[in-house]
């Protein structure tokens, strides 16, 4: 390959771009111009030219805390526990994420949904959900393991702190905020809907009954608070 004059191994690329009649200043191999006499004279100190010219180039730095460049769209950032459209949590406390985690960063404790306190459709919900960001390696295996798509990752990456304890994120920090239509659990499932229907996406928002339930519940707790 090195010997370009060998007729038995013609380089296809060479024959494609190199014109048959190259100029006198054209290097037959690279197509790069030979340095002129001035360039050759200044070659030993050409580095000075590089630094001098660079002084007038645009600075490449992103002024980070002031200017934040968006991350890649599928960047692995802080986790989030999602909700169904009516506000019930998707997490069922199955601990598959914790078992999948290679860094042992996730701790889950499930509890039963009882009639007065239903947080997720189905049998159980994640009563304790902790992710230790001192251990998490952001590999995303927990996301792959989650059977209800409850756990996903956001693009948020500013996860620094000066202490250890605040870096163990709790359930209330990880839960997605309530959307405009959602109501805050606990409240019963939409009437006539099963856990399966929730999973299939047949629930699109809280029903009137659920809203009334939550309003009554809130009024009752407010009364108890004042009394």
């Amino acid at each position: 390959m090195a010997d370009q004059t060998d007729p038995t191994t013609p380089s296809r690329r060479e024959s494609a771009d190199a014109p048959a009649t190259g100029g006198p200043r054209t290097d037959p191999r690279g197509g790069k111009k030979e340095p002129g006499i001035v360039e050759q004279m200044f070659a030993p100190v050409a580095g000075f030219g590089v630094t001098f010219a660079t002084m007038f180039r645009k600075v490449a730095t992103t002024e980070y805390p002031e200017v934040k460049r968006p991350t890649a769209r599928r960047f692995h950032g802080r986790h989030q526990l999602n909700r169904y459209p009516d506000g019930l949590e998707k997490c069922i406390g199955c601990e598959l994420c914790a078992w999948a985690c290679p860094a042992d960063a996730i701790y889950v404790e499930a509890a039963d949904n009882i009639p007065g306190a239903r947080y997720s459709p189905g049998e159980r919900y994640g009563r304790v959900y902790q992710i230790n960001y001192l251990r998490c390696i952001f590999c995303g295996l927990c996301i792959e393991a989650c059977p209800t798509r409850a756990l996903t990752m956001t693009n948020e990456f500013e996860l620094a702190d000066s202490a250890r304890a605040p870096l163990i994120y709790e359930r209330h920090q990880l839960l997605a905020p309530l959307g405009p239509d959602m109501v805050a659990p606990p409240f019963p499932m939409a009437e006539g809907m099963s856990e399966r229907d929730y999973y299939r996406g047949q629930v699109t928002g809280p029903t009137q009954e659920q809203k009334d339930y939550v309003a009554q519940r809130d009024a009752r707790t407010a009364e108890e608070g004042t009394a």
């Binding site: 590089v50 630094t51 660079t54 002084m55 600075v59 730095t61």
Partner: protein, 477 residues
């Protein structure tokens, strides 16, 4: 410092002194400068140097940053200009550590020597011409002596003690090596520096800085001042190289090569004592730059088109301070540019450059300048022809020198190539143990195992006809 401050008064008190009445006495007139005004000027100089030092640390980091396409310090103050202040506060709050093996007195004295000596040289630098200060007309220069430039060299020599003592007294290996390197460096480069200055003395006829500046303000034509950078360009180049060597700056910062010696002579220093080395080093940069400005770039005088405007309006009084500062900062910027562009040289290369190139060439150059000056002064006979003849003779010698040098270099090159020539085939077991081949070498394959049997003429009838040697087999592959 106080002695130097008092010196102008001594000069004034002894006007009839026979030594001082020679032609090389300073032009700067200190007769109207009382001692208190000298003190004021000393204070002004101190503030000027300290401010420059504070700015240069920021300036260097900003410029280096731009040369590497990044902004440099930009957090503290507008454009990060207060960065030096933050660094200083940080340094002063650090723990002051003294190694157990350190020699206490010298360990404390070394940074003091470096930092205080750095300020001394500035006393003889003319920052400007005569100005009116508090009702007295006084030159913008603390003092001047007939041997002012020698004072700078002497003070630089004493300052080198600081580095040596720091390295020695730390009681540690790397600082000792750094200190030794520093000594060798200063000794070798002060010779070349001194020689490059000799040419300036010969042209100016004086070692007094004010006299040298005055000599450079004479004009050639069109009002172009005769700055020594043009006639003494070679000296200027040598001076610039040696001033980098003197100040331990990249690419000659071997005394503190981080890659080889930890931090060099200041490895064991911390907190304020380290800050003093830092300060001394940067002020030394200013000292050598100021000296270069004074000796080669016309000192405080205005650059060319401006010195002719408005009857020399820009070339007098306090304007001098501006031009001086600008020229000095030009050198500082050059220092930074060097640091941004060049890697550190090897120690042997550095010594070779100093002893084998700079010193001999400077010697030859000084002899040539001496001849030219002698011809100009009429020692070789009256008339213009003697100068021309001298120049021609020097030219012949230069050409001869270049010719001989070139021949010697070519011979050395040929010898080296002959030495390094690779023999086409080598026996890897020649010295008893196997060695890999050098690039371009071919190995003689060692004979392994059983040798091929010799051809035995077994058959006497048709053997010869089978092995036809005349048509060799066609080579394939």
């Amino acid at each position: 410092m106080s002695l130097l401050t008092a010196y102008p008064d001594l000069v004034a008190a002894l006007p009839a002194g026979p030594v001082l009445l020679t032609a090389d006495e300073p032009v700067a007139d200190f007769s109207d400068t009382p001692v208190w005004l000298s003190l004021v000027k000393a204070l002004f100089l101190f503030v000027y140097v300290m401010l420059s030092m504070v700015i240069v640390i920021w300036f260097e980091r900003r410029v280096i940053g731009r040369m590497q396409q990044r902004p440099g310090p930009n957090r503290f103050g507008p454009l990060g200009i207060l960065q030096t202040l933050a660094d200083g506060i940080k340094l002063f709050l650090k723990e002051d550590i003294r190694p157990r093996n350190a020699d206490v007195v010298m360990y404390f004295a070394a940074p003091l020597i470096v930092a205080s000596m750095a300020f001394v040289s500035f006393a003889i630098i003319p920052l400007g011409g005569p100005v009116n200060m508090f009702g007295h007309t006084t030159p913008l220069q603390l003092t001047d002596t007939p041997v002012a430039v020698l004072l700078v060299l002497a003070v630089a020599g004493v300052g080198a003690y600081g580095f040596v003592l720091a390295g020695w007294s730390s009681g540690s290996t790397y600082p000792l090596l750094g200190g030794l390197r520093s000594t060798a460096q200063v000794i070798s480069y002060e010779i070349a520096m001194g020689l490059s200055l000799v040419a300036v003395f010969l042209f100016a006829g004086s070692m007094s800085t004010s006299q040298i500046v005055e000599a450079q303000s004479q004009t050639w034509f069109l009002g172009i001042p005769s700055w020594y950078v043009i006639p003494l360009f070679f000296s200027f180049v040598v001076y610039v190289v040696t001033m980098v060597g003197e100040t331990n700056r990249l690419p000659f910062d071997l005394a503190e090569g981080e890659g080889e010696l930890g931090g060099g002579f200041h490895t064991e220093y911390s907190s304020m004592k380290f800050a003093m080395f830092f300060l001394g080093e940067y002020i030394n940069m200013f000292t050598v730059s100021a000296l270069a400005t004074t000796l080669f770039l016309g000192g405080w005088h205005a650059p060319w088109p401006l010195n002719t405007l408005f009857d020399g309006f820009f070339d007098q009084g306090w304007w001098g301070l501006l031009w001086f500062t600008l020229k000095m900062w030009l050198f500082i910027w050059f220092f930074v540019w060097l640091r941004g562009s060049l890697p550190r040289v090897r120690y042997d290369q550095f010594m070779k450059l100093g002893w084998k190139i700079l010193i001999p060439l400077s010697l030859a150059w000084v002899v040539a300048v001496m001849m030219i000056r002698a011809a100009q002064e009429g020692y070789f006979g009256e008339g213009r022809w003697s100068v021309v003849a001298t120049l021609v003779i020097i030219g012949v010698f230069v050409l001869l020198g270049i010719f001989l040098w070139d021949r010697a270099a070519q011979r050395a090159l040929a010898e080296r190539e002959a030495q390094q020539a690779v023999p086409p085939e080598v026996d890897p077991f020649a010295q008893g143990f196997p060695v890999p081949p050098l690039p371009g070498q071919k190995l003689i394959e060692p004979r392994t195992g059983i040798e091929a049997a010799r051809p035995v003429p077994a058959s006497t009838t048709s053997g010869a006809a089978d092995t036809d040697q005349t048509t060799p087999e066609e080579r394939r592959g």
